[in-house]
Each structure stands twice: as C-alpha cells, then as structure tokens.
Amino acid sequence: MKAAAMPFLHDLAPASLLSERQRLLTVWRTYLGDYLPMPQIDHRIVQDLCEGLLDAFTEALGTAPPVMTEGLRDLLSALSVEFAERGLTPSQTATFVFSLKHVLNEAFSGGSGAMEDIHKLVDAMGLYSVDAFIGRREQIIRRQSQELVDLSVPVVPLWEGVLSLPIIGTLDSSRAQAITEKLLFEIARSGSRYAILDISGVPTVDTQTAQHLAKTVAAARLMGAECVITGIRPAIAQVMVSLGINLSSIETRFSLAEGLRYCFGKLNYTVIQGG
C-alpha cells in the first residue's frame, strides 16, 4: 500500500511534520482523490480543512502525551458541521479524519511501533467528529419536525363565519388532537358557525383517522358549529366504505368549492356573476 513516492519523514516529531508540511498535504490530497472523492465539497474547502487539521494535529502532537487540544476540537466540530450540511455520511466524515493516519504512514520511513500514539489520537479524533456530525444532524431533524408541527395546523378563515382547515399528511392521534384543539379555539375566537375540513392532502383514511375526524366534528357540533368534510377522493371513499366507516351523520362534499357552496347555502348567501 506504499505510494510511489519514497518515504520522506524520518521521525514523527512535530518539528519534522512542520518542515514537511507541503509534501504531507500533497500526499493527503492524492490519497483523498483516490480513496475518498467528495464531489459535494469544493476542493478548496477540502484543502483548507486538510491544512487546518494538519496544523492543529501537529500542535496536539507536541503535547505530552498527545491529547486533543481545544483548537482541534473546534476544527473537528466545524468540519463535521460542514460535512453534515453537505449531506455526507458520518462514516465519510470519520474516514476523512482517519485518512490522516494513512498519509503519515505512507510518508514515514520508520517501523509501525512508533505509530501507536498517532493511531490512538487520530482514532479518537474520528470518533469525536462522528459524534459532532450526528449531533448537528439531530439538531436539523428537531428543527424540521418542529416546523412540521407548526405547519400542520393551519386554520384559515375562508369567509365571514366560515373557517377552513386543510389537513395535509397522515392524521395520527397527536396531530388530530392538535388540530381539534386549534379548530375549536378558532371557532370560539372568531365566532364561526361553519368549518370546512379538507382532507385532499391526507394520503389514506383508515378507521382511526375517520374516528379522529368524527370526534372533531362532534366537538365542534357541541359548540354550535357545523363541519363539512371535503376533498374525499373516490378511491378513499371506496376504501372507507369497504372498511365500514360511516360518515353519514357528517356533511361531506367532493371538493372545497362544493363545501363552501354548502356553507353559503346554509348562510343564505347567493353567489351572482357580475357583468
């Protein structure tokens, strides 16, 4: 696994690494090109990361015994964040850090016994970066799921006295609870007598989903508001019938427009085309 170039490092003292800095970086660049292509990241950024990492590593190696310095930790965190945001995997990130070991191995002329400390240090660096990578990704996931919750309960006033609630995505228990709560409070706040629950964005309706909808409608009815369920696709209607789901006590319409037309009828509104 030796590279074509002859080993040029005769000891692993920080001073030697420093004097051979440019050659080490060249070997590293070649190694990465061969074994870890990262098209997602600009090669200049990779170059900067390599330089920074090698310098911080050299500095850390100067401490006795070699341990991770604060600068090294910061650099690895930044590197992991960069990789995570560009969609690289944790193992790619770790492999990038571990590759420093191979670079030094290729460049070093001595026996492998002296590599022991370096192995330990570099491995710890890799594991640390994996932790930072996953931490960052979990942060992104948490933020996205919070955004999803915020987005999932939009109650939109459609007309004076008519609210609409476009439900998008699967209706599980916790979402159904949130939707019911939001809808009832909006009904009370705005004094709306009609609410249109549009389920065109709900992929499938099973018995549980239908139960949630029926509960929402029942609670709104207790408050004096009537609900119309719209956006039931023919395929979903068929599934509901075959599941024995009966929504006959609830007004249902094909489209949101038909639902609005129903509410207008109940409110005694007539829509007239002008001109």
Binding site: T180, E181, L184, F185, I187, A188, G191, S192, R193, K215, A218, A219, A220, R221, L222, M223, G224, A225
Partner: protein, 126 residues
C-alpha cells in the same frame, strides 16, 4: 344568615325564550332542582324555547350530561325547544373523549348566536 353556597343557575325570560345561565360549577343537588325550576318558569312565562348558557362551565361530567338530557326531554314534552350555548372548546373536547353527547340538543356558539337562531326559527314557524 346562610352559609356560603355555590352560586346556582340564573333564569331570565326574554321574549318567549328562557335564558338559563349555569354557574362554573353546579352542585348535584342544584342540578336536580334545575329541571324542576326551568319547567315551572317555562309554563309560567309561556316560553317556546330554553337557551342554556354554558359559557362559564369549566367542566361537565356524565351526571350533568344526564341532567341536561332529562331536562331537554321534559322541555320537548312541554312543547318547547332546548338549545345550549357557549360550550368551551376544552369542555367540548372532554365530552367527546368521554363519549358523551347531548342527544341531539342543538348548540350555538354564544348566547347572542343562540338568541338570533331561536328568534329566526320562531319567525319562520309563525
């Protein structure tokens, strides 16, 4: 000198409609008396509808639910209509979770909505 008792319901006749305002919490004995009181006032005022204002009620249990159902049946027998008004969202949700319903008693968003509704219906039926 009487001991402090929880406030009971207020009954106000308003153009042939009895508005019954329930307190935040209604004791069991008060609840039992309620139907009796409402029935007597209904006949005395010759009212055609009873509007039960529940906006202040913070909770409703199955006992209260039964009381309301019994009262609505009695009112129907006396030839009048019952409507509840102003149920809070959390009360409505609790009732649904407990599997309670009001057996087809009509509901209104508020006393104002309920009065308008009952008057419109009375106007139509005359």
């Amino acid at each position: 000198m009487t001991a402090a008792t929880p406030p009971s319901a207020h009954i106000i006749p308003l153009d042939g409609i009895l508005v019954v305002t329930l307190p935040p919490l209604l004791g069991d004995s008060d609840a039992e008396h309620l139907a009796e009181q409402v029935g007597e006032r209904l006949v005395a005022e010759q009212a055609h509808a009873v509007l039960i204002d529940m906006a202040q009620m913070r909770m409703i249990d199955s006992h209260m639910g039964r009381v309301l159902n019994v009262m609505a049946s009695m009112i129907r027998m006396l030839g009048a209509e019952t409507m509840v008004a102003g149920l809070r969202p959390e009360v409505a949700m609790t009732m649904v979770e407990l599997g309670m319903d009001l057996g087809g008693i009509r509901a209104a968003l508020s006393v104002r909505h309920g009065l308008a509704d009952l008057r419109a219906r009375a106007g139509r039926s005359e």
